[in-house]
């Protein structure tokens, strides 16, 4: 059986790609990029979730880790996801700045109006 978190991640990615292909508003497109990234992050995070010996794992916090009896989730996917989120923030802020600039030049957020470059 496919774990439910993989299905959710796949659905998020599909939704994002659908929005990227069929939506016209620039801000919606920016959000679509973010949704695709969220799906990938969910997939990555869920790879670290491993149930060992029937115990529900806890977050990888090392303070007082001797007293915690249950297993920890793998910390590496969480580190990778954080890195990826930081990259996502950079792309998002750049995309917003470009969107504002596009509105200044074109007076519209419709992506179909951005068709002056041709050839």
């Amino acid at each position: 059986m496919i774990p439910f978190q993989f299905i959710t991640a796949f659905l998020l990615m599909t939704m994002g790609i659908y929005a990227l292909l069929y939506k016209r508003n620039l801000i919606k497109l920016v959000l679509a990029l973010d949704i695709i990234d969220s799906g990938i992050h969910l997939l990555l995070i869920s790879f670290g979730y491993r149930i060992e010996a029937g115990q529900i794992p806890t977050a990888p916090i090392y303070t007082g880790y001797e007293t915690v009896k249950s297993a920890m989730v793998a910390p590496l996917p969480q580190a990778l996801t954080l890195t990826s989120i930081v990259i996502g923030v950079c792309v998002l802020s750049l995309a917003m700045a470009l969107t504002i600039n596009a509105y200044r030049h074109y007076g519209s957020l419709d992506v179909n109006k951005l068709r002056r470059l041709r050839g």
């Binding site: 880790y65 700045a97 200044r104």
Partner: protein, 148 residues
Amino acid sequence: MGSDMGLIVKTTARATIPLIGIFGAYIVSHGHLTPGGGFQGGATIAGAGILFLIAFGFGEMKRRYDHHLYSALEGLGGLAFLGIAMLGMGVAFFYNTLWHSGPFFNGQPGTLLSAGYLPVMNLAVGLKVFAGLVSAMVAIAAYGRWKE
């Protein structure tokens, strides 16, 4: 300029901005022990700055924001990060020399003064993220003024 908010929002912002700042500083300084770290804490502190921008308006923000200072701070954060990464250059780039043989930050794992360069790096990253996000937010807010 009617871009600032009403009295209730302003008073609440005055009360919460220092608290948000303190919470962000806690996240930065405990980054090596608990979830969080430089980026998350820096983003939290920048949240205080953004709250200030929204509550008091762009005009007030502009008086307190010095573009050169913030871009210099951002550069300084990056330079500090790079410098700490180069401390252990004798062994390898990013070698945690403070943890293995350093004079401080080499305490028992799980205490505040442990983990070698990680707390210092978190401070550097927190500074960079705070300065960068506030600059980005002010720049985006400044875009909105183009009609006036």
